[in-house]
């Protein structure tokens, strides 16, 4: 089985968000870049299956649409344990554009399972997996919280509002994963970091594709009014405020 994992390169989740150029661009000064948390979990899960059932998964490739500065993040994925990496050399400005690029990779080299995260923690598109599936005319299962391979068949669970479904699918397919898929993301071992240097990281040029959307500006939320502190010995006052002032209970 061959697995492709789409990874996006995003600011560390604790990054203080600021904008520059008259609030039209994200301020990347001093930002630490990481593998999008869900993509890291996807990679972790693929490696868990690979380790638990030797021979089932012959190859795990990661793909990223990004400029050269996303290479440290891609190398990290190789250090964690991916076998190969592809970087499509373009700025990921619009999800339709990014999906078009990854679709081209899948058309050229077939994969049994393509995994995407449910969203990127930067622009929160939450759309790439679905777009990719439609471009490739493949089935997609979204909000996947459990993925396993049992006797050659893929076992999936997906989250629905207020429950969980067990889903069977034909291969190839696209899994759009969310948390639950793996507990903690794997961290690279010393050996992993060393071997990552010799693993293939291929850069390819993008194909022509349309951009359907464009960010034109950003805003920070208005600062919140200060928190009203209530005496712990007078909890009744809280109920009073919630009832009479906020009118919520």
């Amino acid at each position: 089985m061959k697995i492709l994992i789409c990874i996006s390169n995003v600011p560390d989740t604790t990054t203080k968000i600021k904008f520059v150029n008259n609030n039209t661009a994200f301020d990347i000064a001093g930002v630490q870049w990481i593998i999008n948390p869900w993509d890291e979990l996807a990679l972790t899960r693929a490696l868990e299956i690979k380790d638990a059932q030797p021979g089932i998964i012959e190859n795990i490739t990661v793909v990223n649409v990004g400029l050269i500065d996303s290479e440290p993040t891609i190398r990290k994925a190789l250090a964690i344990g991916a076998d190969a990496a592809i970087r499509i050399n373009a700025e990921p400005k619009d999800t339709f554009f990014v999906a078009s690029q990854i679709a081209e990779v899948v058309r050229k080299e077939s994969f049994d399972i393509v995994i995407c995260g449910i969203e990127s923690s930067d622009y929160n598109g939450a759309a790439l997996g679905g777009m990719l599936s439609e471009m490739l005319d493949l089935p997609s299962v979204s909000a996947v919280s459990h993925l396993d391979v049992v006797n050659g068949a893929v076992e999936l669970k997906r989250e629905i509002d207020g429950g969980q479904e067990t889903v069977a699918t034909q291969l190839p397919f696209i899994a759009i994963i969310q948390k639950g898929i793996a507990k903690d993301a794997r961290i690279p071992s010393m050996r992993g970091i060393m071997t990552a240097k010799s693993k293939p990281l291929t850069a390819v040029e993008p194909i022509a594709a349309d951009l359907l959307t464009e960010f034109v500006g950003f805003d920070l939320p208005k600062p919140k009014a200060a928190c009203k502190k209530i005496d712990p010995d007078n909890v009744r006052e809280l109920v009073n405020l919630l009832h009479n002032e906020a009118k919520l209970i």
């Binding site: 999906a99 299962v141 759009i176 507990k183 034109v216 805003d219 919630l242 919520l248």
Partner: protein
């Protein structure tokens, strides 16, 4: 032209968000001088279907087909695309939840229509078509322009609210073509959590963190929630430890919710947790550490031992309810 809404039901009843989507669509339709058509897939009775008229839908396309019993991203996309063609829709509205995201993204490619996900308000401009959406896990807002003539939006739940505007509504049976070639995924088993309020639908949520010390202390959280008709939630370590089920985990990597009132009990307020709850209209924090970051996000706060405060809070709410 029309504005099409993808509705969602739960056990035959529309989810609260559906009425919000229709309200939102009505606001857009007014600006565009068109009308709102709702698409319903599944077994929903006539009375429910007609209720969509209370929020401005003038037509409901009612699809009932056994092949569509379970969500299938590919087949559902096809159904929505057929409804778009039939109604000549140029704006299509989904909820920004698991199913909404799954179908909207596929539809975007099928129709080659630009998509704005996680919208927080009606478009700020119609030419160019500009939508405000959450970015950086709600730490900021982005203004995104959709450049195509047909536009798709997923609306963040509870961001817009309900606006009643009663109109005459026509319910029409709709039988789209469902190809077997698009039914490549099959649902084998469903585990529904019954007897609990849907977290994403809850107006009030009572949530506990590691400060609750252990699963044995969740009694007061559940009691307070039951008293207030609230849903229950938790921070990530709490569900990771197995103190609470995974579906209660809120935050950047869990559920994103925006209730009117959120109680954070023994939750530090890490940035990743706030990403899932900062859309709440009012946040109450109970934490023994006066410097806990949750107090920066909170509207009301009590610095104290949550295990002592909760029983008193329950008593005070009971007193209020008895009045």
């Amino acid at each position: 032209m029309s504005v099409l809404v993808y509705t969602e039901n739960w056990d035959g009843k529309f989810k609260k968000v559906t009425f919000e989507l229709v309200s939102y669509a009505q606001e857009i339709a007014k600006k565009l001088g068109t009308s709102v058509v709702a698409l319903s897939i599944g077994n929903v009775n006539d009375e429910q279907l007609k209720a969509l008229g209370n929020y401005g839908a003038t037509k409901v396309l009612n699809v009932q087909d056994d092949k569509l019993k379970w969500l299938n991203n590919q087949a559902y996309t096809s159904v929505v695309a057929q409804a778009v063609a039939k109604e000549n829709a140029n704006v299509i509205i989904f909820a920004h939840n698991n199913s909404g995201k799954a179908i909207a993204s596929r539809l975007s490619v099928r129709l080659k229509a630009g998509l704005a996900t996680g919208a927080t308000a009606v478009p700020s401009s119609f030419d160019p078509f500009t939508v405000t959406k959450k970015v950086f896990t709600s730490k900021a807002l982005g203004n995104i322009v959709i450049k195509t003539p047909v536009r798709i939006i997923t609306l963040l739940q509870n961001a817009f609210g309900l606006i009643e505007s009663k109109v005459e509504v026509a319910v029409e049976a709709f039988q789209p073509e469902v190809k077997d070639s698009e039914l490549k995924t099959v649902v084998k088993e469903v585990n529904k959590i019954t007897g609990k309020i849907l977290l994403t639908d809850a107006e009030i949520v009572v949530s506990g963190g590691r400060g609750m010390k252990g699963p044995e202390n969740w009694g007061p959280i559940e009691e307070l929630a039951a008293l207030l008709g609230a849903g229950t939630a938790c921070s990530r370590p709490v569900s990771d430890e197995g103190w609470r089920p995974h579906d209660e985990h809120t935050g950047q990597t869990g559920k994103v919710i925006a209730p009117n009132l959120y109680f954070a009990c023994g939750i530090s307020g890490a940035i990743q947790h706030l990403g899932g709850i900062s859309g709440s209209k009012c946040i109450v924090a109970i934490n023994k550490d006066p410097d806990a970051p949750i107090f920066e996000a909170a509207d009301y706060g009590i610095v104290g031992d949550v295990l002592k405060v909760l029983p008193e809070l329950i008593a005070a709410v009971k007193e209020l309810k008895a009045q």
